[in-house]
């Protein structure tokens, strides 16, 4: 979940000291972590990008505490467009949509510019899917000359942020930090074309990588232009509306921008009235709270909605920054948050039900108890392993296509899912060489094999014994005891051969015509691979050949 850092003092200045924040933020679904030096890190819910921004959090707090009531028609844009963006057909296949916002009298003083930039980064990283779906840039409006063109080209020149001179697009891609980070999304094109915006004088931004130094917004910047580009029309529109609403709440005046797609033109941002009804009965049935006794309009206001009673329903007017509200359930959730989750009285589920444990779980428990009775201590290992541990150390060879392989694990130790348990137990012995002998371990667990495209999950019992007198007779006795205690009857023990075991001291268990287990004395080569210096005997028995789930 996204985390954004702020200075506590900025909240204090707006009437929210630490103590209040500790109580209010969790009630709104945010987690706060305070650190020395006055920093507060706020973790927000991923469906609420409006809360990635300082203004957004303050607004939520203002409404929740009743400090500022939401007003009807507060979010409106009644000015005429002051800027046009011409969209060139060259962007159509790469990144077709753009929205613009012009705002005057913006407050970027103190930490506010920093917060706006942090918001931009977090928002485009998460909601914007690493800028692929959505990216935005904030420019100093006073430095922009004439109208804006949105186009794509193979190359061009721009002075990127923090640079002193012009660089070519390709240089920016190869040399700048952001170019390396975000440039990759164009590499699949044969002759990559980069989208950019330009005004009458210069390229303002290479999208979605970096903007130019000349129009950089500073703490004393008052008038700004924001460009929002992306691959989804809805996402671009929504983002423009959300950001415009935050600017308005912060006291700025927002002007629309005309976006000219050639055949059609739109205005951004454009607030459409969003109304939604919430049935009181359904809200009560969802939450289990008699809401009728409470002031629901008041609860709606706490969440930033204006609302009115409408028969047996409540009519909500949803503010333009709430991108997450798409159905009645969202409104019911808002009402619950306003009501306070801790204020909901717990009510028991009615109806009698009988508990029932799963057979396989009980079977494994019985077997585990029996193994402990035989003097074996239980181990539980991960099913994730690698070829060296699972095959090579055991002197076995894995056949690709017969076991489940894992793609791109973050650690080299994980490349496959185990096919056997004994290798895990050998590993456990190898880290226990300093412990007292005899050492006896068992594990009941899942292993996986592959046949074509079909994965088979089996349940197995494996056990090992290590001590100076460990021999075939010991493991044979234990195998027979384990088989009998798990009600396996009519099995045969036959001579077998396996590179993990000493030839002539290895046997298989056969039942109903198929092999259900193997055991014997571990070969010294295997012992040396695991760094073991005492003899080890081992057994691996199949408990359930193929786990079939009921679902």
């Amino acid at each position: 979940m996204p985390v954004v850092a702020f200075n506590v003092k900025d909240f204090e200045d707006r009437g929210y000291p630490v103590k209040r924040l500790q109580e209010l933020l969790p009630s709104l679904g945010m987690e706060a972590e305070f650190s020395e030096g006055g920093e507060i890190k706020i973790e927000t819910m991923p469906n609420r990008p409006d809360l990635l921004d300082f203004i957004g959090i303050v607004r939520a707090l203002d409404h929740f505490t009743g400090k500022r009531q939401p007003k009807e028609n507060f979010y409106k844009i009644d000015k005429e467009p002051v800027l046009t963006i011409d969209v060139d057909p060259s962007v159509k296949k790469i990144r077709p949509y753009i929205a613009g916002i012009v705002a005057e009298n913006v407050d970027f003083s103190g930490n506010l510019l920093k917060y706006a930039i942090n918001f931009t980064n977090k928002f485009t990283e998460t909601y914007g899917r690493k800028r692929r779906k959505l990216a935005l840039g904030i420019h100093n409006l006073d430095m922009i000359k004439g109208n804006i063109t949105y186009a794509a080209a193979e190359d061009g020149m721009m002075t990127p942020l923090d640079a002193k001179a012009d660089m070519s697009f390709s240089e920016i891609l190869k040399k700048s930090e952001k170019g390396i980070e975000y440039g990759g999304m164009y590499s699949s094109q044969k002759k990559p074309k980069l989208p950019f915006i330009r005004d009458g004088e210069r390229v303002l931004a290479v999208i979605p990588i970096i903007q130019c130094e000349q129009t950089r917004a500073k703490e004393d910047t008052k008038n700004i232009f924001i460009d929002i580009t992306g691959t989804s029309e809805v996402a671009v529109e929504n983002a423009a509306n959300m950001i415009a609403a935050a600017l308005i709440y912060g006291g700025a005046t927002v002007y629309p921008v005309t976006v000219n797609y050639g055949k059609s033109a739109v205005q951004t941002p454009e607030f459409r009235e969003k109304q939604m009804k919430m049935s009181l009965r359904r809200a009560e049935l969802t939450l289990g709270v008699a809401l009728g006794r409470h002031n629901i309009v008041g609860l709606a206001n706490k969440m930033g909605h204006t609302a009115a009673k409408y028969g047996n329903s409540i009519l909500f007017f949803i503010p333009p920054y709430r991108l997450d509200v798409i159905s009645e359930r969202d409104l019911i959730e808002d009402v619950a948050i306003a009501f306070g989750y801790d204020n909901i009285t717990p009510l028991p589920v009615t109806g009698v039900a009988d508990g029932l444990a799963q057979d396989t779980a009980e079977q494994e428990n019985r077997l585990a108890t029996n193994m402990v009775g035989l003097g074996y201590t239980e181990a539980i290992n991960s099913i994730l392993t690698n070829e060296t541990a699972n095959f090579e150390n055991m002197q076995r060879k894995g056949k690709e296509g017969e076991y489940v392989q894992i793609a791109d694990a973050k650690t080299e130790q994980i490349t496959m899912v185990r096919t056997d348990i004994v290798p895990c137990l050998m590993q456990n012995l190898s880290i226990s060489t300093n412990e007292k002998m005899p050492q006896r371990l068992f594990e009941i667990g899942r292993v996986f094999s592959l046949n074509g495209n079909t994965i088979k999950e089996s349940s197995k019992l494996a056990f090992v014994a290590e001590h100076s007198k460990a021999n075939f007779a010991e493991i044979r006795s234990a195998v027979e005891a384990a088989l009998k205690s798990s009600d396996v009857e009519g099995y045969r023990i036959e001579q077998s051969s396996d590179p993990s075991f000493i030839e002539g001291r290895c046997a298989k268990v056969v039942s109903g015509g198929t092999q259900i287990g193997i055991f014997g004395e571990i070969h010294p080569k295997v012992l040396l691979a695991f760094g073991l210096e005492e003899p080890v005997v081992a057994a691996e028995l199949t408990i359930i050949k193929e786990i079939k789930y009921e679902v």
Binding site: I337, Y341, I344, P346, A353, E400, I414
Partner: protein, 492 residues
Amino acid sequence: MHEYEIKLLNGLKEKKGQSVSQLERSTGLSLDSILWAAENLSKSGAVVVERSAARSVSVTKEGEGYLKQFPEEEVVRLLEKSGGKSKVEALGNQIGILWAKKNGWITIEKGIAALTERGKQAANGEQYELREIFNSIYREQPKMSERAASMKGVVETLAKRNLITVDEKNVISSISITKEGLDALSGARVEKGVDALTRETIKSGVWEKQGFRPYNINAPGETVYPARLHPFREFSNFLRQKWLEMGFIEVSGPIVETAFWNFDALFSPQDHPTREMQDTFFLSNPESLTIEDLETLQKVRKMHIKGWKEQWNEEIASEAVLRTHTTSVSARYMRKLATTLNANYPLKLFSIGPVFRNENLDYKHLAELHQLDGIIVGDNLTLSNLIDTLKKFFSKLGMDDIKIHPQYFPFTEPSLEGLYYDEEHGDYIELFGGGIIRKEITKAMGTDKTVLAWGIGVDRFLLNKNILGVDSLPAVFKNNIGWLRSRRNLKV
């Protein structure tokens, strides 16, 4: 008195303050028997045992190469062969040169090494005391040879040169008999009595006449360990028991899953960051699995296109993953119940099992974790029912003061999370997340019932509540047999 004790006292009568090795010879008792008898007798005051810090020595691997010749000996022999003088470089062997010079066997001037008179003697086979002592240590290790012990500094020198290692131990240096011991001996006779019981002694009834020889019940026994279950099985069974008590049915589902049941059926958008490699284990073989339930497939497709207004790709949904949560089991059961006739609602289900996160592994992180998921399916189920169920469960674990906060999950709405105030850490810890399954999802699963759902991170719970007295998960699943055998019991 035991036979050994009498033998020891007799041996001590002759001479005061004898060493254990002397006594071994004079009494004919084994070392163990002497120690055992001395321990008993010292308790009754019959003997006085004096202990001292004794050293045991062993020759190192490097030392073994020095038995025939030390490098400094090699140097003087080489010099002798080349007429008593040589360029230092020609000798090589830095260590040998250093020690030969230290011993006064050679002098070095302007890069030329010359043999001294003493050096000549050393080269011509005069005994090199350091090596002689070293050889005596080698022969008598681990006991310090008497010669080595008498030569102060030599042992230190050899240890410094990494030719031997010395262990300091507290051992018995001498045993002396006291007046009480002498008295006891004069009045003592061999204590008769039955020793270990045998079939013969039991039948013969000899014990009626002789009685039993009392044992020293204070003699320490060998440490033995019980074989035990893994603590995770115990903890998992404990949690299972609580849900079973509350009338829940235990279920389970596939560990290797399709992205479809792990993500798509739960309304997780296909371009969502959590589906990327960094969090989820995808398989390279097989890369994809068949989604068998075609009806649900179509419904899920509709749900995504309508809800996220994005393309929905069946290939992405077919990708094989290691499940990231047991909520996939809950999804499968929502679907199964929808096709079950005459189900007796409300139905309460839970499952517990392994889940996987593609993480960097370190002393705190594992890639395989465990989760417990539950659902209640029925009519007229409310958020307050969910809160009640979870509060009841945790109150069974002794956690009564649970805080409930709003939270976001893609598959529930409203969603909540439960926190518990951990007094030890002075902080709230997350216990569970849950909510009411989205209508979009229940509809796609083919049911018109309400579904309450939750998930509990089992491992985190195990660590946070200090149930095992261990603060690292890898320690729990490392399976060091010493820890498994001697770990403390679960504190639940």
